[in-house]
């Protein structure tokens, strides 16, 4: 971390769906501009809840979230895109009953019409697969294409910060490679990325830094390369690298 102020600062966040039942019990994150930061941890650690809380989908009981210095802790979820924060959920991340075109049109709704049209064309240029079937209902796309659409949808508003919840979920290893390569591209174009991942191997390959969450709290933090090389950390926390019997999935 350099000395400049972080683009995302999460401090002692406590959050959960039911009031009084906290899933995130005090998490802290700092993300600098143009970094790729990954949040790892065993199943049930609260990674997903954390990122959803930042996005405004899960109620926050205490702590704060700052985007570019501005507090967004209690900001309504639908206003996040206006502040430059785009989120790609893990499941149901496109409108399956609406066409590809409609998905993009909706995502660009907060833009001026001409800008929106430009962005949509740019998206089609980047994803020719989607361009070819723009009238197709998004639900008819393959898993990988759907993921692409979800990411493309998030990029429509040219976000400063892109957050993704397990982008590799349900994808074949080859597709995971493609998706993560795309993420690296996106970072090169100036977007900061935070992702929650179960597949630690793929994530650490492109990440700069990583946080490890366990039982709703920070358990570890460091440069991606360090974590990659630390067998103790891998054994304790990262179910993805070794087969960890620890509470997580086999």
């Amino acid at each position: 971390m350099t000395g400049e102020s972080p683009i995302l600062a999460v401090s002692d966040l406590v959050a959960g769906y039911d009031p009084g039942v906290a899933i995130v019990k005090g998490a802290t994150l700092r993300v600098a501009e143009r970094e790729i930061v990954v949040v790892l941890g065993p199943n049930g650690a609260g990674k997903s809840t954390l990122i959803k809380a930042i996005a405004g989908l899960v109620p926050i009981s205490s702590g704060e979230v700052r985007l570019d210095g501005q507090e967004i802790t209690r900001l309504a979820a639908h206003l996040m895109v206006r502040h430059g924060l785009a989120f790609v959920p893990q499941t149901e991340n496109v409108f399956a009953l609406m066409s590809i075109e409609d998905n993009l049109q909706l995502a660009g709704a907060i833009l001026a019409p001409r800008l929106k049209a430009e962005r949509i064309e740019a998206t089609y240029a980047l994803f020719p697969d989607l361009a070819r079937q723009r009238r197709l209902a998004a639900g008819r796309l393959s898993g990988g294409q759907r993921q692409m659409l979800a990411v493309a949808r998030a990029l429509m508003v040219s976000p400063r910060l892109l957050m993704l919840d397990e982008p590799s979920a349900g994808l074949s290893p080859k597709l995971v490679e493609i998706v993560f390569a795309k993420l690296a591209d996106i970072r090169r174009s100036g977007v900061t990325i935070v992702l929650v991942e179960q597949n630690a191997r793929a994530a650490l390959a492109i990440a700069d830094r990583a946080y490890v969450l366990a039982e709703g709290r920070n358990a570890h933090e460091g440069k991606a390369a360090e974590l990659w090389g630390d067998p103790a950390v891998a054994q304790l926390y990262l179910g993805g690298i070794r087969a960890a019997p620890q509470g997580g999935r086999p």
Binding site: A55, G56, L57, A76, A77, H78, L79, M80, V81, R82, F87, P89, E92, N93, V94, F95, A96, L97, M98, D102, Q105, L106, A107, A109, I110, R153, V157
Partner: protein, 311 residues
Amino acid sequence: MISSLNLQLLDLQFLADGILAGAMIGLGAIGVTLTYAILRFSNFAHGEFVSFGAYATLLGSSLLGAIAGGFTEPIGPFSFGWGVVLAGLVGMLLTGGLALALDLVLFRHLRHKAGSITVVIASFGASMALRSAIEFIFTSRPAYFSRELQIAMPLGLGVKITPDQLLLIVIAALLVTLMHLLLTRTRIGRSMRAVSENPALARVVGVDVASIVRVTWITGAALACAAGIMVGILVQIRPHMGFDLLLPFFAAAILGGIGSVPGALIGGLVVGIAEASAVQTIGAEWRGAIAFLILIAVLLVRPTGIFGKPA
């Protein structure tokens, strides 16, 4: 004898009556289907939007008529004057307001959990209260927009239609087309479809769900008001007019597939035509059971309806 045998082989009057009734049912069914899809509950008070709309328009047109006689002058070949038209537009706004008020005071607090049935109970209670309030204020005597009698013009094939009926079918078709265009071509329409599919994702992409909820109430209520005005012009205005249409509304919405505007219209037409043919064959008093039979049939055969998403 021969001439009486030669009878209604091609009397398609029931078709005309059915399409007319179907248009009115369709307009109401659209509101029901949108409320169900976007707000996730069956609003038993929707019939009351129809009645309220008719009575509000009646009040407005009477007021205008009292101010200046010109407002009651029938427009051209139609039975109603500009008073009804202007009052009708205001009536749509007022009915929208009623829907918003009901949501604000009652429904909003009860519908927060998906699948909560309490809000449906509340809507049933609200429907009783509204209907009775209308009865209290206006009594149960039937009322009319105008006393002008209309002459039915023959269209061929045994079909006769009055200028009012023709105009109102055209207007209904226009309204439905506008609704369809709204849903498919505009930002608001896409947002509504998004919320009906996945409200959380809609928020994530920037849709203000609360605002969409308001739009849903207003459009559904405005269409219900239009249906009420149609019934008021073509038949009469009574406190129970909307409630009597509630079952046909539900049947049409479910037949067409919840969430589908074209489906609601087609469902309405099917119910309307079925009712009209029943009137011809087994008698008008059984009309009310037709919607129920259609409902049962749909639930047994294909519960998701014509355009509904498969379970």
